[in-house]
């Protein structure tokens, strides 16, 4: 079997033993696949692009691993001299506990370590935070299972964190009426809310219980507290991949409390380290195509752009302003891509994300200009546009995490989402890399 003359060289791992291997991104007719062979465990292939969009065009700005990168990558991860991107966001696991015990997908595996003490977390924060710069994600487990979470938020803010994000299933935000307000008062910027769909069949299937009404209350609670909410669906083939447009519409209808949707195709690590069929893998171009199809004219073709901060195969985003009545006004109208891959790409991305996922100040929210614009025409007025783009910003984005079955070290080298672990920053997909059980 030949890989075709358009095959691109990269590096990957054996999904069984995680040994580093040379790999090819090979054109196989209806898909581009990541292929490599382990002497011990054999040949492995996974689809990474299904040609719904042009692969070369989407990936043209990718930073290439021309010299192969660090020969110890990823087994000796931490960030090394070969790593291309600075840190955009730092993820800190503040707990291993979770109040949802039966999720089908979770980055976290079964807890193997003792719960971090408050003193440990303080020490970690002092190592992580660069005053005025750091974008911190508090994650877990479920961070709200810690009763001292508000104090952790306050300390992170005191140390100078610019943005503080909470990754949450929303249970405590929904069930304790003053909890969101308490987090807001201590400096929480926004919530990444696990949100898999708009009916309870989805939640029963993926999370083991009904949750839609709870998610609604969590959004309302955050809305009252002035904390922006981004909905985060884990997209699973045959479960909720036909509901992408409904999720976007659900979010837009709850603007300005909801600031956007961040789609994450299911990957197979942590709690779900199993080998899966090619069919089950949702590639990023499939997700884009489905978003265009299911959202119709609300999301114009071409408006979703590849990440310039991470590898183009890792993410996409598009900015909008939510209008009265649930329509969207696309901010990406020009064919030119004005993002770039400069050295400050991580800092630019941090500001882009922070600006769009945060709610504006309480004073701004209380101003007469806070109402959504009636239509796109109203946004041609400079002041109406500025008010709309602050108050009713809506961002559709996605991130395709990698697992042992499709890990491309070129993508890993461009990762700007880093997990703080044992005193070092580790790219997200290296931190959670789990050998597949075959």
């Amino acid at each position: 079997m030949t890989a075709g003359e358009n095959a691109e060289r990269t590096f990957s791992v054996c999904p069984v033993c995680l040994k580093r291997l040379p790999a090819l991104r090979a054109d196989r007719g209806d898909a581009v696949t990541l292929e490599r062979t382990c002497r011990e465990h054999g040949f492995f292939s996974a689809p990474i692009w299904r040609k719904r969009l042009d692969f070369k065009e989407w990936t043209e700005d990718a930073a290439r691993l021309t010299d192969g990168g660090n020969p110890d990558c990823p087994s000796a991860c931490g960030l090394c001299a070969s790593h291309i991107r600075d840190t955009c966001c730092v993820l800190l696991e503040v707990t291993h506990k979770c109040d949802l015990g039966s999720c089908r997908f979770c980055f976290a595996g079964a807890p193997r370590e003792s719960e971090p003490t408050r003193g440990q977390i303080s020490a970690w924060l002092r190592m992580i935070v660069r005053s005025g710069e750091t974008f911190l994600q508090l994650s877990g487990g479920e961070p709200t299972t810690r009763d001292d979470l508000p104090e952790i938020v306050a300390e992170a803010r005191r140390l100078g964190c610019k943005y503080i994000q909470l990754n949450s299933n929303g249970i405590r935000l929904a069930e304790e009426p003053d909890y969101a307000q308490a987090l807001a008062a201590r400096g929480l910027s926004f919530v990444f809310l696990q949100f898999d769909g708009v009916n309870d069949d989805i939640y029963r299937h993926l999370r083991g219980r009904e949750m839609l009404e709870l998610k609604e209350r969590a959004i309302q609670s955050c809305g009252r507290a002035g904390i922006g909410v981004t909905l985060v669906p884990t997209v699973v083939r045959g479960v909720n991949d036909g509901m992408l447009g409904d999720i976007v519409r659900f979010g837009v209808a709850r603007s300005p409390a909801v600031r956007g949707v961040h789609f994450q195709p299911a990957c197979y690590l942590g709690r779900t380290p199993r080998d899966i069929s090619d069919y089950d893998r949702i590639t990023i171009d499939e997700l884009l195509e489905e978003l265009y199809r299911q959202c119709g004219s609300a999301v114009p073709r071409g408006s979703l752009r590849p990440s310039s901060c991470d590898h183009p195969l890792c993410g996409f985003h598009a900015g909008f302003v939510a209008l009265e009545g649930g329509a969207l006004y696309s901010l990406n109208r020009d064919e030119r891509r004005n993002g770039d891959c400069r050295a400050d790409a991580s800092a630019r991305s941090r500001e882009f994300i922070g600006r769009r996922w945060s709610r504006p100040s309480a004073a701004c929210r209380a101003s007469p200009n806070h109402a959504a614009a009636k239509d796109a025409g109203e946004l041609t007025d400079l002041d109406s546009f500025l008010a709309g783009s602050k108050n009713h910003s809506f961002t559709i984005s996605g991130m395709a995490f990698q697992d042992a079955g499709n890990l491309d070290l070129e993508r890993l080298a461009s990762c700007s989402l880093h997990v703080f672990r044992d005193g070092a920053m580790v790219p997200f997909c290296a931190r959670y890399l789990t050998p597949l059980a075959t």
Binding site: S308, R333, D334, R348, E351, L382, D383, F385
Partner: protein, 70 residues
């Protein structure tokens, strides 16, 4: 005339080309495929408008930031 257009003491009150007094007028500008309008002092004869530093580095810059990709 908007405050930001007349705030600077060295803002011209007359058109440098035509010599007539500037009047508040609607100006349009475009950026990355979008068109916006606002009010600025302009010449009723030749139509040229005066974009103050405050407008350029204030609200216009905010528009640029809002539209620029990451």
């Amino acid at each position: 005339m908007r405050e930001d257009a007349g705030a600077k003491t060295n803002a011209p009150s007359r058109c440098m080309r035509c010599g007539v007094k500037l009047e508040p007028m609607r100006i349009q500008f475009g950026y990355l495929g979008h068109t916006f309008h606002t009010e600025a002092p302009g010449c009723p004869v030749c139509g040229q408008a005066y974009v103050s530093e405050e407008l350029a580095t204030g609200r216009m810059r905010e528009v640029e930031t809002s539209l620029e990709d990451k």
